[in-house]
Symmetry: D2
Subunit: 256 residues, 4 copies
């Protein structure tokens, strides 16, 4: 059977990336507590294409995913990248897996046990110049109360849901990054609040007003000692406007 | 050239609907002020399929859209439906067009002129039993402040963005329905607020707390005398929870 | 602490629905093979509101979800509905849970084992007049090849990805409905195809052309003996157009 | 009235970006034919924040948008950036506007006039080191037919809708980039095709098979002489798989 992909290509145009995206597979992710959490992974995987032939054998991406990635870990991601880089004779390989990740939290006053999902992902890259780099990302929904609105008004203050997305390199548990994000906002979100809890978070938020700029700055100061390279994006779904407010703060690696 | 669609079909399975969706075309929509607003329409159009032949000639849907629908009006929608019902020998026809619709609003204290878009749509149906029915829909983002949070807390109250979607039959301007929705919420949203405006809406919202239930009830009482048949859906993006609160209230036509 | 929700409401406007939506929780779903599949559920839950007081105690929805719904089954859904209907003194209750569901499939020629996710949901309703009704839904992506394009062209035929959404009442496994859908399309989709498999599905699809109308009709004839009440929606992401083609076929229950 | 934003901030954490996003406004965009097309713009606008005070005056972003941006042009975008950079005492400013853009096309054989929308955007950046840079982007949906499937099969070949996204610097009309993209695919998409047109595109596509890699390479060779810096992303919604295939090719500016 003819192998069209492997035919010589006179165009001589190397590509930066070829791969597949939107592949869903069951995975398990390790938790800080020491367990393994089953969830649903959505994968992208690809390589560079420095070749003089026509195209990539795309089915090999699925084969390496099936072979290696039931359980997600830094070791497994690296082995997968080395395998696909070898099979497709590439100089770079990239894999990304996004998944909903469940965390436990207690209601602040009544101390009821609850579960809340956040969206997380791991992106692993392997290439000859930079070696092996893993970037983790989590988006944590939190509560912000506007300092300006509070200080200019006789009573009340507008507040809203805010998404804080953090991407980082280095060994940090998702659970720990979530805690740092939540402690930088006016208040965390809770899936369940009984009346004493609602009174508590309402008053606490009023006493702890934050602009998107404040959340980005406070979180930067907490992450700075812990990671060599990270990015914070804060998006506030302003409750008095139909648009969103945004703040971004990056720490770039010394040599990149 | 063979006409596969028109061949006899021994399966004898009439269909409830065949059509196309996600067709974008430039349109103009009439405004209450008397002007015509240019915008981008996303159309669905279709008919029932009571036939003993194999399939519909889908290209005719595009032909009627190009022929009739540069300017959206009740008359044009009806003519389009009659045309497609005739051409496809159907007993029912449906057309829906969704579009962003711009409204003007002034900032509440500083009286600056602003523009805000809402998502709106018209759905027109023509059939032998119910005749010609047009349903209009608009989704208005507003502000709600929680009565419970306010009353149990010593200071502050959680508040958030809320989407109110109203679908109605009868002659009501989109602009008027938007005004009714905004007057049923804790406060309207504004694209621009200077500090005196922000103080105003913060305090006004605190003095006008609303559950999703309150917004649905208050809006029902305002719409009830104006429309024979409508549906209100209120979705609050709770600022202290990662999930949304919902209230729905319908008024059904007497005989349907 | 004041209970604002329970205060008398002079407006006297009963609501059709109050509830919460977009709640994510870890769940397990039973499989036809006899196992339990862990996945991530996204819940909506609510009740009607026939009362003369001001609002619902929304936190109770979360409490019943935490209490009952780790494992999804018809029994659990019913108990949950009875519980929330009781706690909120409602006459109707509704719960819906959407989740990605993994199925196994072999490549058609090379017989490799693969896994593919589809989107599924269960919706359970309880009320005094209709009793307890569960509606299951699954969206299956398949392949369609256009009969018209094939028959008028000397070679080739346009083909594309198609989403078939089926909602049904009655005892049918999701796995069985997926198989019926796939057998009604030009070909199933596969996450992995080696070259002999790709040749197989390409040729098989060419020999088995289907309009959206054909898929709806063929699937109707297969489901008709198995379910008293169902709805089929076929959406084709036409590969020669920027819009989609749609066909819908419903079977309504005799008395509803 | 207190100006919380302007207060001294001892944290001393400059931010990379503060701004607003998801602002919709009516705009007009110039067309190659010499006209002005009315459409709906969705804006992001922001600046860096090198300051030792607490936060930005977000309302000024809306004020500059209202003042300058009814008609989108390179000149207007630049003036807007200079204005906001000045007002917020920033060293960098960025504005992006995304909009649906309508193009005319004739059916290939029957020569009927049609209109098709594509998604486009302009992003303008102003800073002291790189000066003023505008990046234009358009996503063009096209048709691809798989060379491998065609060559290994006795008849037929799988084909599908493909999105090609091109971002470029330099003076090129959106209309011209769309034409280059469409000529690099197996076939363009058409909103309307009568039977002779459908026969034409089916056969033409079969004679012109393209991998995602082929589209990226062919388009690169056409754009290379026209732009100093561009990025091509090709995403194929594979009609035999539930996932997508991707190819990316960039041309980076010599000195950046």
């Amino acid at each position: 059977m003819r192998d069209v992909q492997s035919e010589r290509d006179p165009r001589n145009v190397p590509l930066d990336y070829v791969g597949i995206e939107n592949v869903r597979l069951p995975i398990t992710v390790r938790t800080k507590e020491g367990g393994k959490q089953p969830t649903v992974g959505t994968f992208s995987i690809g390589v560079d294409f420095p070749h003089s032939f026509r195209g990539t054998h795309m089915s090999r991406f699925m084969e390496v995913l099936y072979q290696h990635l039931e359980e997600i870990s830094q070791t497994r991601l690296r082995v997968t990248l080395e395998d696909i880089k070898e099979r497709l004779k590439a100089t770079k390989a990239m894999i990304e897996v996004a998944f909903p990740f469940a965390i436990k939290k207690s209601t602040p006053v009544t101390k009821l046990e609850t579960v809340m999902y956040v969206d997380a992902s791991f992106k692993a890259e392997l290439n000859s110049t930079r070696g092996y780099v893993v970037t983790s990302t989590v988006t944590v929904p939190v509560h912000s109360l506007c300092p300006c609105s509070r200080d200019i008004s006789e009573f009340g203050a507008h507040n809203q849901r805010v998404d804080v997305t953090v991407s980082w390199q280095g060994d940090l548990w998702i659970e720990d990054v979530i805690a740092l994000v939540e402690s930088s906002a006016s208040q965390p979100l809770y899936p369940l609040l009984k009346r004493p809890d609602e009174k508590y978070v309402t008053e606490k938020a009023y006493l702890n007003p934050k602009f998107v700029e404040d959340i980005a700055k406070d979180l930067f100061l907490k992450l700075d000692p812990l990671s060599p390279c990270f990015r914070i994006k804060v998006v506030s779904y302003e409750s008095i406007h139909p648009h969103n407010a945004v703040a971004i703060k990056e720490k770039r690696a010394e040599v990149s």
